[in-house]
């Protein structure tokens, strides 16, 4: 960061040089102000530490928490008398539970009095392969086949299908509600102006923030899991579809209007077909979001593969966690590839006029074979039951357990030293400043910092969010979570800049690393916890490392794109004047890619935050842990819900600061 303040190199062509000189001056002013705030904060911390920290004990409840508990109880009591609860929430809840149960009995659970589901093992494979072929083609079908076989071999057939059911029911709901909404949004500026901020908010919230409030209304179980998942996964499909519809070539829409089409005809014949591909991209994003939330919804008793992961994380059974998360990874790759292939496919399929007949024949054969497999699976138990062998789950579990034990034992001293160094050298001091200062000191300091880096609007948002956090009675916990987040975000940015610059400067590196990052991005956050628990057991350190791993791919890609976007002529000019690579990077490429770097920091921060909260499951402590406890212990429900609210406030605060900081740098 010192580079921006240093005088510009003579080698750079004038316009960027001037631009950077301006930036340098301004950021020096800001930096000075920041330094003043930090020094003042440290001084007050030394003088007043330990006073008015608002720390409360683990089982201690505030009036607000008890009030929330009473709300839950009274909601439960009114469930049969209150019209809205009974027919509104209750109706939705019953309908969703019935749908999920129906689908589970159809494919994953014994359908009483049968010992097997209506459609057994072979039948399910047949039907899913047929669907994959129909919507996405042959390659996707093979991928689905292999994935399904893997679910069985890992020993998680039923739970995998349950996860798939929750995910797909949620996605269906998102599409059924989201598509009409997107159409309306694309046509009406007013609706757009109302819906977009709401979607923004939904997307800002980390997944954990959804759990408690929905559990309040829907209880725990499949219905709550589906609703949470649908809410979390809702924004992408609406956004992307609305964007797609809005950006259909205006001349084509006009041509259609000029021929006297009705609005409905325009939609059906022009806008939807032309936006189809974009809409499917939205469905893909929604599906991936739904999968990640559906696994987390295991915490509110959502059925599926999240359950064994959550249990294994709790009991620190690394082997079981690894096997179950392997299933989730396979599911993620499968859903991603199939929906992506589906988006490309539509047009191609209609284009190849002559092979249409071939395809129709293949489909007919597929329908007959799938039908036959379903028949077999309903008639013979060998076809309905998941085969005992090959059993991959047990050996993988054993091997990873052993490896993990070995690693932890062998490197106990060095990992402990690493963790201790990290804790005592970095985390604890920072946490002490944030959380052990009197609350009003931290609050004021945060306001000042928000104002300096992001401007006046950020101060207003920060103030409101701080008030909400104070209201939840969890100020101290929130400061702990904030500490963890800031540390993880700093490491994320370090990695993002190093790897991003490396990728941005080398095409080859980019082509190798990018697909890996893309895949990492599709994995649900739950999965990230597992390998680090295997390496470092449960601790705050583990949560931080997982958060860094989760956030790094996004941030790296943004930095790499920024570096790549720097005009090659400028870079060439710098090189021709004899700059070393280091000089080129620090004096030309990074400063010029500043916008992307700040954007990477923004995104990285939000990703880190959502993962830090989930890290409460593996010893991360803070607000996330309170959310988890809230589901485990009835008397802590109110406190968990309050933690959810505090998480929301903290997320909004971080988002606003990061966002206004981005628009600010964008303007300079």
């Amino acid at each position: 960061m010192t580079t921006t303040a240093s005088p510009p190199t003579r080698t750079v062509s004038p316009p960027p040089a001037q631009q950077r000189r301006g930036l340098g001056l301004r950021s020096f002013g800001r930096r000075g102000a920041l330094a003043v705030v930090v020094v003042a904060w440290l001084g007050l911390w030394t003088a007043l530490r330990g006073r008015a920290t608002l720390e409360i004990g683990g089982a201690e409840l505030t009036g607000f928490h008890e009030w929330l508990d009473r709300q839950r109880d009274s909601l439960a009591a009114q469930r049969d008398t209150n019209w809205l609860l009974q027919y509104g929430v209750g109706g939705i809840s019953d309908g969703l539970n019935a749908t999920v149960d129906f689908l589970r009995e159809l494919i994953s659970e014994p359908a009483f009095p049968r010992p097997f589901p209506e459609i057994g093992y072979l039948g399910v494979i047949g039907v899913f392969c047929l669907i994959a072929y129909a919507v996405a083609g042959l390659r996707s079908m093979l991928l689905v086949l292999v994935s399904l076989l893997a679910f069985g071999a890992l020993g998680y057939w039923e739970l995998s299908l349950d996860l798939l059911i929750v995910t797909l029911v949620a996605v269906t709901i998102c599409v059924l509600i989201g598509l009409p909404l997107a159409i309306v949004m694309a046509r009406s500026r007013k609706v757009d102006a109302v819906v977009t901020p709401a979607l923004d908010l939904l997307q800002t919230l980390p997944s954990f923030a959804y759990l408690a409030p929905l559990a309040l209304f829907f209880g725990i179980g499949p219905a709550a899991a589906v609703v949470t998942t649908a809410l979390y996964a809702f924004p992408p499909v609406v956004r992307v579809a609305a964007h797609g519809i809005r950006h259909v070539a205006p001349t084509t829409v006009e041509a259609s209007r000029s021929l006297g089409s009705t609005p409905w005809q325009q939609l059906r014949t022009v806008q939807l077909p032309m936006a189809k591909r974009t809409i499917v991209v939205g469905v893909n994003q929604t599906t991936m979001a739904a999968l990640s939330m559906a696994t987390i919804a295991a915490l509110i008793n959502g059925p599926g593969l999240g359950q064994p992961v959550a249990q294994a994380l709790q009991s620190l059974d690394v082997g079981a966690a690894v096997v179950a998360s392997l299933g989730i990874v396979i599911m993620a790759v499968m859903l991603d590839r199939v929906t992506t292939a589906a988006s490309v496919r539509g047009e191609l399929a209609t284009r190849r006029g002559d092979s249409a007949r071939l395809r129709r024949t293949a489909l007919a054969v597929g329908v007959v074979s799938a039908g036959y497999l379903v028949y077999l699976s309903r008639t013979f138990s060998w076809a309905a039951d998941v085969p005992e062998s090959p059993d991959l789950g047990t050996p993988i579990a054993d091997a990873t357990s052993d490896a993990s034990d070995w690693f932890i034992d062998t490197f106990r001293d060095s990992t402990q030293a690493l963790k201790d160094g990290f804790s005592y050298g970095l985390l604890n001091p920072l946490q002490s400043v944030l959380a052990d200062s009197p609350w009003f000191v931290s609050a004021t300091a945060l306001l000042a910092i928000a104002g300096i880096i992001a401007g006046r609007r950020a101060v207003v948002s920060t103030a409101i969010c701080e008030l909400v956090i104070l209201g939840t009675g969890l100020w101290n916990e929130a400061m702990n979570t904030l500490t963890t987040t800031l540390v993880a975000a700093a490491f994320t940015m370090l990695i993002a800049i190093v790897v991003g610059v490396w990728m941005g400067r080398g095409r080859l590196v980019d082509t190798v690393v990018r697909p890996l990052l893309d895949t990492l991005q599709t994995l649900p956050p739950f999965v990230y916890l597992v390998p680090f628990v295997a390496l470092f057991a449960a601790s705050r350190f583990t949560a931080i490392v997982a958060a860094v791993a989760f956030a790094a791919p996004v941030a790296i890609k943004l930095v790499a794109d920024g570096i790549r976007g720097v005009s090659p002529t400028t870079v060439e000019a710098a090189r021709s004047a004899g700059s070393s690579s280091w000089q080129t990077i620090t004096k030309v490429q990074l400063p010029m890619a500043r916008g992307s770097v700040v954007l990477a920091a923004n995104q990285g921060l939000l990703y880190v935050f959502s993962m830090v909260v989930i890290g409460g499951l593996v010893g991360g402590g803070g607000l996330g842990y309170l959310v988890v406890l809230g589901f485990r212990q009835a008397e802590l429900f109110g406190k968990g819900l309050a933690a959810g609210i505090a998480i929301t406030a903290l997320a909004v605060m971080l988002d606003r600061i990061a966002r206004y900081a981005v628009t600010r740098t964008g303007r300079t």
Binding site: E254, R257, S258, G260, Q265, T269, M274, R351
Partner: protein, 343 residues
């Protein structure tokens, strides 16, 4: 009145909030930039009136931003006019209900666009049949009709191609066929050929001339290319900054430009190709010979030149049986030589 296919009276289109508060006030007379500064509104079409006869090719010309596209879209209310009157086939367009307006667009007026506006996910035949589909025609029927028009524009054999498999010129033929297929009485063209390269553009202009002679539709044709305007237009309307500057036949515009703007426009035109004898003749003086050859007043100078110069006597210009004036060698030479000097 009734022999006009289309008439437009005092048409205004002002873009911007509160646009309807501008017309009829003093603000309306302001130049565009001042209006924009004062009210934030853009006057795209200002007080334009004209008539188009049945079967006429009426060209609207002007520099970029002069309001041509807006004007032509106002005719079927693809853009809602701010004020004025539009009559098509004797019916007032601005008072039409939405349903009636759709009828007008489905049966009476069809449009061809600069960027084609084809449906990329449909084959040529489905694109051409699109207007008929909108009307609710059955598949077999509309495909049969579409095939006729595909043939008419010379695309037979490409029925099952997709637009992106065709060249720009072919794509615009699809656009043309789509407009023709609904058998409209009036066709609107918004710079249909400006996205095409010059050779193809010439082909397409000839195509329009051929179609016009075959199907005889009324056409309103937007262009910013003067040679295109002169080639196709029976009459030309010239616009500047939303205002009508001049309407007239090509020869009239070349011979008597209304102001410097128009004069500038036509300065490069080969005058002998456009000017007719009517615009170069004069009244006979007492000592002029009246024994020269007789020619019609709307003959183009270039076509008359050889015979006129060969003859000893000045040409006698007639409109039917009526004697109008004479054209001597000097007059012919002034047109031809001035042009060579300019070139």
């Amino acid at each position: 009145m009734s022999d006009h296919a289309l008439s437009v009276r005092e048409l205004w289109k002002i873009f911007g909030a509160r646009a309807d508060r501008v017309v009829g006030t003093a603000d309306a007379d302001l130049p565009r930039s001042e209006l924009k500064e004062r009210t934030g509104c853009v006057a795209a079409v200002k007080d334009v009136s004209f008539d188009v006869d049945k079967g006429e090719v009426f060209v609207v010309m002007g520099l970029s931003g002069s309001g041509k596209s807006t004007l032509v879209r106002c005719l079927t209310r693809l853009i809602e006019p701010t004020a004025g009157e539009i009559v098509i086939d004797g019916e007032d367009v601005r008072s039409m209900s939405t349903a009636r307006l759709r009828e007008l667009r489905r049966h009476h007026v069809a449009m061809v666009f600069q960027h084609f506006g084809l449906l990329p996910h449909r084959t040529v035949v489905d694109n051409v049949a699109y207007g008929l589909e909108i009307r609710g025609l059955g598949k077999a029927e509309r495909h049969a009709k579409a095939a006729e028009y595909i043939d008419l524009v010379g695309l037979t054999g490409n029925e099952h191609s997709y637009p992106d498999q065709l060249s720009g010129g072919m794509q615009q033929r699809v656009g043309l066929a789509r407009a023709l297929a609904v058998n409209p009485t009036v066709m609107l063209f918004d710079e249909p050929f400006s996205a095409l390269d010059p050779l193809i553009r010439r082909d397409m202009q000839n195509e329009v001339i051929r179609l016009h002679s075959e199907v005889g539709k009324t056409m309103v044709f937007i262009t910013h290319d003067l040679s295109e305007a002169l080639k196709l237009g029976d009459r030309i309307l010239i616009m500047r900054d939303g205002e009508l500057v001049q309407v007239g036949s090509p020869a009239e515009i070349v011979a008597q430009p209304a102001d410097d703007y128009v004069r500038d426009f036509v300065s490069e035109v080969p005058r002998s190709h456009v000017l007719t004898l009517r615009w170069v003749m004069r009244d006979p003086l007492p000592d002029d010979s009246l024994e020269g050859p007789v020619m019609p007043a709307d003959r183009v100078v270039r076509d008359a030149a050889r015979e006129a110069l060969d003859s000893e006597h000045p040409v006698r210009v007639h409109d039917g049986d009526m004697f109008l004036g004479i054209v001597d060698d000097d007059a012919i030479l002034r047109v031809v030589v001035a042009e060579e000097g300019a070139a």
